[in-house]
Structures are given as C-alpha cells and as structure tokens.
Symmetry: D2
Subunit: 336 residues, 4 copies
C-alpha cells in the first residue's frame, strides 16, 4: 500500500502517518519525491484496511499497489496518450511515425545527406547518435556535443525534428537543448537516476526496452519518468536477448498488443537493432505496423559498409526509399 501525501504536507503530518501505520502492525517507509512524499506500507499480507490513514491530515490518496507501476497503466488512465513532438502526434491511432537516420552521426556530410534523403522518401523524424554506448572503450564513442550540433543543422536543413540518445543525468540539459525528443537506450532502461532526471524536463522521451527487461520492468521504468511529472513517454521494443544467435536479438512483436492492453503509452518498434540484419528489416517493419505499432525507428546510412557502427543492419538510401513505398501502401491498407 502506498500513501501519497499532499505536496505541502509537512514533517509532522508525515510522522503522524508513520505512527498510525506502525500502530496497525506494519512498517512505514517514507519515499521522498521531488514534488511530494509517499509512504510505503510494508509487512502486510494481502489487503490492508485503509480507513484510518485515509482520514488523517495531509493524505492525498491511498493506492493499493500490486504492480510496480500505476501511472502508466491503462486501468488508471484508459485513454491512449498522444505524445506530441514538434507538431507530430504519436499514438493518436493515425498514421504511424517513421524515424530514420544513421546509428551514429559521423560527419556533417553524412548526416545532411541522410536527412535530406530520408525526408525525400517520406520519413517524419531524423534519428542519429551523438553519445554512443559501446560495449568496449576502444571503439568510436560518438561525436558528443559536436554531433548534437550537426543533428540540429540537419534537422533545420531537412525540416525533420530529431531524436537522439542521452546517457547520463548530467547531460540531460545539454541534449534537451538541441533535441526534439530524448532517447534512453536499452542499456540505460534501468538507469533510474537518468529516468528521474528525464521526468523533470518537458521534452518527450523515447524509452527503449532493456535487452533482458520483462514487460513489467519496462512499464515500471516508464513509471519513473511519469512519476516525476513528464507524461510524454513512448515505449520502444528493440529485441530481447535470447539463446538464438542467428539474429542480433529476438524481436518480440507480441508486446505491441500486450502493452496496448496494459498501458496507454504509444509503442514503437526498432527492427534494425532487433534483427541486426538488413534483409530482415523490411519484413519486420511491415509486420510491426500490422501488429499495431505507433511508429518505427529505422537505421539508414548512405554507405553502410563504411559506417562506424551497426553497418550490417542499416538500410541503404535506395533500400529505405523502397521500404517507404511499401509502408505507404501498408498504411493505406491498415487505415482501411
């Protein structure tokens, strides 16, 4: 059970609650938040009668928790959340949003060329990494702020808003200054300090599923962002780690309808990281749309064989153009 206090509840009121809980035979654990304090009730088995505490001064709400998330759940918020990114609406149940671009920003020429090409093919947003999480320290780590500037340039040049990854709480401000949407990578899905920081900004967040995160943990990670006050979260499945090594990851498309049942947040799919193989990207992209995805994130590179990262899974510019024609046809079909 969770007792949520009013945001102006004082120390005394909180202490009174704790005493009341202890008198009921349970333990009380205050959980200070940036806006308000909540008090967790521990040691209960099964349902707790909340009549006593509900009546005490300073109590805003008493929540009977069973799942580690609440704000993201459809029970709590039955209507679909629509996330707005620079004029685009994601999750509105209309045309899916296509984000495309290179894994990493490598040069002005590369990002400008890619942005213009994907725009011409019909992409809605530009993607590209400036801060790159890499398995080992001896590989290209991204162009960092310089990369943000190039993304910004390419965005203005092409007219496409852009999304890029943020890797630590202290760079949230910097990235938010440039990007239209901030991405949390799979490896940081449970970097809770980062999630909390992202909960405090106004920009929308694209949260990628950790490679061995359960759906419950994925939704609970999103809950961290919503709990701090930022409702604009998009969930992105990018493949999970399994015993199968023939593909880079195993794309778990069933999470699209599953998350739609459990949550009101939009769901996107990244078939590039999920499969790790260029030829598998188009069929999985189209399957994702049919399964109900609100958008796709696709890696596109003008010269994949020279890419500093993720070349084998990047679509070429003509490959992307071809896929977009198929996606257009698919979307017309879905829209019926």
């Amino acid at each position: 059970m969770l007792i949520v206090m009013n945001h102006n509840a004082g120390k005394k009121q909180i202490e009174a609650i704790i005493k009341a809980v202890e008198l009921m035979g349970y333990s009380a654990a205050p959980i200070p938040g940036s806006e308000r304090t909540a008090i967790g009730v521990l040691g209960n088995k099964g349902y707790v009668d909340d009549a006593t505490v509900r009546a005490l001064p300073g109590v805003k709400e008493v929540i009977h928790v069973s799942k580690p998330y609440k704000l993201v759940s459809r029970d709590f918020h039955p209507k679909n959340t629509i996330v707005k990114v620079a004029g685009l609406e994601i999750g509105a149940g209309k045309r899916p949003v296509i984000m495309a671009g290179p894994c990493a920003v490598e040069s002005e020429e590369q990002i400008l060329k890619t942005a213009r090409a994907v725009k011409a093919s019909g992409a809605d947003m530009l993607r590209g990494g400036a801060f790159k999480p890499r398995t080992g320290p001896h590989t290209f780590q991204g162009m960092r702020e310089e990369g943000l500037k190039l993304l910004s340039l390419a965005s203005r040049d092409s007219g496409l808003p852009f999304v890029t990854e943020v890797m630590s709480p202290d760079t949230v401000g910097l990235v938010a200054e440039y990007a239209d949407m901030l991405q949390v990578g799979a490896r940081n899905m449970q970097n809770f300090e980062l999630l909390k920081e992202l909960g405090k900004i106004k920009k929308p967040i694209l949260l990628k599923r950790g490679m061995c995160a359960s759906i419950e943990e994925f939704l609970a990670a999103a809950e961290y962002i919503l709990a701090e006050g930022n409702p604009g979260v998009i969930l992105c499945e990018r493949g999970i780690r399994t015993f199968e090594t023939a593909t880079r990851n195993t794309l778990d498309l069933a999470v699209i309808p599953l998350i739609k049942e459990l949550s009101h947040l939009p769901v996107m799919i990244d078939p590039s990281h999920a499969t790790g193989k260029r030829s598998l990207v188009p069929p999985m992209a189209k399957a994702a749309l049919v399964a109900g995805a609100d958008g796709l994130m696709l890696e596109v590179h003008p010269e994949p064989e020279k890419a500093l990262s993720d070349g084998p899974q990047s679509l070429t510019l003509p490959g992307f153009e071809k896929l977009m024609r198929e996606i257009d046809r698919m979307i017309s079909f879905i829209e019926g």
Copy 2:
C-alpha cells in the same frame, strides 16, 4: 567431410575407403543409414582434398560439410519446395494455408462442430490432437486412436484434410493411416528416432521448432527427415522460451524471412502456442502473414472455457470467423 556410398556398396568397398582416409591422416567414422552408408571424415582442420577418395569404387558423392544440414539448405536446392497435402499446395507463394481446430480432440460433438465451423469460416485444414504431450502424467493425455477416428470422421464430414501430432516411432504407422499430415511437436523436435521414422513415410510432416532450438538445430532436425527420403517438410515456429513470462512463449517472427534465406522449405506460424493469450493471436497472425508465412496454425474451440487443454489461447468460433475476414482482406492486400 562426408563420403556418401552407393546404396549397393559392399563391406569391402567401405573398408577400402576407411583405409584411404586413415592413410590421409584422418579418422573415418562409418555412419550406416537405412539405405546407404556414409563415412564421416574426422580430425581434419579446414578443407580436405577429396581427389583420392572420390575416385574409389562405391563412392557416390563427397560432401564438404560445415553446417549440420545440407538437403534443407537453399544453396543446395534454390527453388522453393511446395508441399502438397490432399490437393492443397503449401509454400507455393500463393494464398497462405490456414489450419484450425482444437488443441485436443475431446468428443465427437466437439470436433464435428469445430470442423464444420472452421470450414464455414474459410479454413483450409483441420488440426486437433489425439496424442497429447503433457508436462505431467496426471492430466488428460489425449483420446489416442479413438481421437484419430474422430478426426477422420470430422475430416470426411467437413471436407477438410487434417494434421495431428505423432509422439513415438511405433505409432507413426497408425497415425499415418488416418492423418493427411503428421505433426512433430516442439518437445520432440530432437527425438531423432521419431524423425528418422517419419523420413521413411510418404506423408508430409509439420515440424515444430523446439522451445529452445536454434534455427540451425531446427533445420538440422528437418534434415533428418529429408535424409531418410521424405522431402515434404513444413517448418513451424511456435514461440521460443525466454525470460519473459508475460506471454507463454516469445514469438520469433524474424525466422520467417531468415529461414526463407537459408532453406527452401515452407514456413508456418502458430500464434496460439506462441502467445498463450487469445487477444494476442489475431495481431500476431496478421503480422506473420505480412512477414511472409506460408500458413498459420490456429487453435479454435467451441467452448474454450471448458477445453481440456489450452483454453486461454483458443479462439472462439466467432473470434475465428472474425479473424478469417481480416485475413482474407490481408491476403488480398499481400497478393495485391
């Protein structure tokens, strides 16, 4: 390296090969088959010059193996295999084949009612289990031969050919007497004695992927059937076991285009076992078709809440009818 002997090669010819291999500095391992003997060459690192052995009497073929399969590979057989089942053609790149029916045959009434209903909704084949592999021995194990008779009755009554599971080498003959296609369940994918027996019959085989089988192992299992002389194998993905417990299994749809690259055999999808949840079946069924599946296997039950097995994942009759209308539309689009 594998030296395949003529089917009438004698003991002396085989011994001469073994001696030749040993003189080359390798070990020779005779692998007797039901029709012919093959001789494995062991202890080599890298490619072996096969000129010496190729010239010896009785040698049919010398195969340089690197994968555990060859007959099923597209390298070896570039054209799609079309499996024919009682007039239907699976893998022909035309309309996908829909197989529907209950997890288990439970009674004459149940199977007749289901067969008529799925036929009316547009199914191409009937499915139903007479021999049921169950985790523990204290649950319903299937109606066995009585179930085969009821399936046969329902098949004649509805005009739908039927597929049913076979669980051991000694019942292959019995099941083949009744069924139009024999199914190997996920738990038996590496029951090699069963696979060999199925290689000796003329009926087509539906081979389900083991719940933790890699694609390489899946193809190698099919190789056992082809190696014994039965070319009619359909591969069926039914979800793999991962850490995620929110769905019964994790449906690995990327194997559709992946297997199409590696092999010439048809690929089907079973979204019922893959998800374990009725509401997830229709979106995954449609996604599978878009990804290129040659067919679907769907659990349908007139009263899922009373099913002796797999009720929660079975479609109701109206649910199946509704899905078939969407599938029809989807197929027209794909053929488009």
Copy 3:
C-alpha cells in the same frame, strides 16, 4: 483433482464416477494408465469437496493436485530415495558415486582402455554412448547394439557397472538387456512415450534435465516414470541453455539444494556437458559435491583430440586421475 481407480475397477464403476463428477458441475477426463485408470476433474476453481466421489465403489484414492507431480515430491515421500545399481547405493547420503567414460563408444580398444583406467583411478561406474543423439544426421550416430556389446565387455572386464543412453521406446528392451542403468538424454526429457516405457522396467533410470526445462518440468518428467511403477530415478543436471555462449551451457548448481527440498530423488551433476570445456570441469565437479550432489558424470577419453564427439570437454586419463585424488580429499572433508 485426480480420482485414482482400483486396478480392477470396471467400465461401469468408471462411468459412475464420471456421472458423479458431472453432477457436481465439473468435467471428467478419464486417463487410462497401463495398470489402472485415473479420472481428472476439470473446470473447478479451487478446492473440490471430494466426499461424494471418495465413497463410490472402485475409487482407490483422491488426489488434490496443484503441481504437475506428486510421487516425486518430498511432501508425499519425506525420506530420501536410495537408488541401487548393481550393489552401489546412490542417494544414501554417503560417498558420492562417480561415473566416468567416453561420450561415445568408438572401438573395443578405446572402451576397454578407458574402463580399466577410470576403474584404477577410483570410478564407481562406466558411462558411454552407444545410441547417440546428434544435431544433424551426417555425423557419427553411435555404434548402436555393437556399442552395447562393447560396453558390456568393458564392464565385465573392469568390474564397473555401466550406464548408457536409450533414445526410443522400442529399444528400451534391448538397452535394458545390457545396461545396469538407462539414461534419458536432455533432448528426450519430454519424450513422454519413452518415459512411460522406462516406467515399466525394473532397471534404474538416469534422467537428464532438458536444456530449457524448468525444475517443475524436470520433476514432472520423472513423475511419468514413477507413475508407471519404476521408483528408481536419478535426476541429472547438465547445464541449461542461456544467452551466454562462452560456455557450452550454463551449469545451474543451485538446483542441487533446491531439488533436495522439493523431491526425495537423488541428484547428479554432469559438469562435462554443462561447461563444454575441459579446464572448467574439475572446479565445477568439486563445487557440485560441496553443494550436495549425490554423484558426478564425467566424460573421459584416452585421446580427446581424436574423439568422434565431445572431445574438447573430455578429461584425459591423467586429468581424470588427478581430479579423482582431489575428489577423494573433498569427500573426506565433506564426510568430515
């Protein structure tokens, strides 16, 4: 709920039970066994009052099932089961039993040499494969009956009883004629027809855990053997399949104390298949004993570099001799 009938219960008595169950508002599913019929009660939510059925003629016992196993559970049978193999006692809580030998029998010389050597080093039993389950059909499949004869010869010569794998129901009789203990391999853990056949013989069974089998499924597989009347089952952990590829499998040693809590059956460990790497076998063997294993199964080959299968994980004869000295010391310590 499961209603177990007397072995001489007739058709009429069974029909009376079914009617009674249906009158209670549930479904009844007869489960015919080789000795007696059981009737599963379906459609109940929670506990069912069994007073009515318990009183009917022909009813032997009414079992309230929640787990898919009962006979193997410690609740049902609190005392450790001791499995006797040719004079050896496994699971008696005394000196662990060491089984050693090659993955596959390859020749008379190889198996005789190995048997004598492992006997001299202190092994209690000989192991070796005559029927080999191999991923693909183009690799060495074992010497089959010829292998059984060589194992028998080596057993008589060395005085060591032997265990060997059986792969199909129709060879159970043949293998049981030669072997002192029959092994079910990981790939056949859920080959239920094979398990049922093994339940009808008098020889002890070594059941290996499937590579993606949960502990619940593992115990339920053993239940199949016990349910048919054979109480002599030893459970053997041999590594499970995970995302980690640095070892062949992931050895799950925590199952030793876990199974000891849940079941009364002896537990063995096979560190050779679990790790796939010779250098990791000795530390894992010793760790298994400290964790409470009743025995070890170790691959030993006189010339691992020439082995037809599993060479890289086989101990050499001197390597085994060295490990046995450490194991002796370890056992003295444990018995301490």
Copy 4:
C-alpha cells in the same frame, strides 16, 4: 587496430596520424580519453601492417584489437591483480574476503546491530545500500546520504571497511567520500558514463555482472574503468536471467574459473541475489569458494521478515554465524 597517443600528443600529431591512416585506405576515428587520445582504425579486414603509423611522432603504442577489452585480459597482464581495500587484500590467492550486511540501510539501530554481529562472526567487510535501484518508483529508494553516514558510523564502530552502491556519475564524489569500496549494480554494468567516472577515482570498485551480460561484455565494462586509470576492479557474479523462475536468477559459477583464465582481476560471488532464497545461500556460498572465488558478498539482516527489500534472501544473524563456521572449515580445507 587502436593507435594510442602519448598523453602530451598535440592536435597536429593526431591529425598526421589520421591522414596516414586514410592514405592506407582506412578510416580513422579519434577516441578522446581523459588522459590521452586513442585513434581507432576502421574498415580493415584482418591484420593491418602498422609500420607506417608506429613510426610517427606522438604514438605511444599500436594495439591490434580483437576482443573489446585488453587491459583486463590476462594476455596483457599475466599476474593476478590484488585489490587492496583498507588493509584487506582481495585476489591475493589467500583467504577469501567475506562481505556481509543488509540489502539496504534502514536505521542506525539496524546497521549498527548487523555490523557488530557480522564482525563477531568473522566478516571482513560490511555491505549495505544507501542508494537503491528499485524496479518501480513507489518502493523504498534508500536513505541516500543519510545512509552513507550510518554506514560510516557502523564501519567505525565495528572496525569493518564498507562497500556501497553508487548509481550515477554525479554522486561518485559523494559516495567515494564515505565508502572504502564503491559498487556498480547489475543494472548499471553498462552505464558507461558512470564507469568512466569511476575510472577517475582512486578507490576500488566492485563491478556486478549485468543480468544478461555475457562474460565478454562484463570484461569490457571493467575495461572502461581501467582505461580511465583505475586498476582496482573486482568482478562480482550475482546470477543471470534465464527462463528458470524457481530461483531469482541462475548462478553461473563456471565464470569463476573462466574469468580466471581470461582476466587477472579478482572474482567474487553474491549467492544472495543469485538464488533469492535463504536456504540456497549456504550451499552456493561454499560451492563458490571451492570453485575459486576470491570472496563472497552475503545479505544478512537482523530481522529479514521486516526488511524493506530482499528479506527472503537475507541470512539471519545466527544463520550467518553458522555459515561462517562452515566457511572457516572450508577455507582451511582449500588452503590444505
């Protein structure tokens, strides 16, 4: 290939290297570090002749990389690293180090009581969480700086140095002010910004394996810390995520000898998080020591049933005392 520059190499020297690499037909990616720049060479297939670049001014070293780590590898540094923590030596091949304490610091009384008790039983270090990564935001998140102060108090009181978790780059300084060793939790194993920050401090680091991290990724994560200049890293296995749900995680003990082959860093085991079940902790703790672990991390709580986190896996004070007696005996045996 990686070209490591002298720490005083200037911009001009770096540009000369880049030009040279490009003239060789490859791409050059500068990787700025806190102390020196390295230049990655990309686009090569196989070995690159490094004669040209090796001769250029400012080049310190040319490394031919195949693994994503080098500094942590035993090839590079054959002798065991000994990590010193407040007088203790970890990895010296002598008596393993036992760290014990509660999952989370909850109160002064709790931590003082626990510290005194584990000290009395023979523990070498105190553990306890002040910053707690929790799946969802509505559960106890730790006492943060207040918790650090209490740990410090308990450390001084008991004479035990302490280790505690750090969750974000910006709190590294704060935690390092108090703790004798800083812990990176499993969820942050690939929080690369945190790892880089920890590479810049002088205190030893306990790096926990991510729950789905391969050994290669685990070592590469440690490489981030060493690459920034901190050689004092201890690797800690705490169970990986698999399909098995009977235990909280699957303890992968084979990594102890495996990591000892690949790396010179000390290895510890956390059997509490690995199993999630009190009764399984002692057998796994002892098995870990026999397998060669340099230390153990154990959760101990004076009243596990009231713990704010991880109660079911915490040892009681008498349970810990009993285990320490067995460990003492085990260590005497190992030291032999």
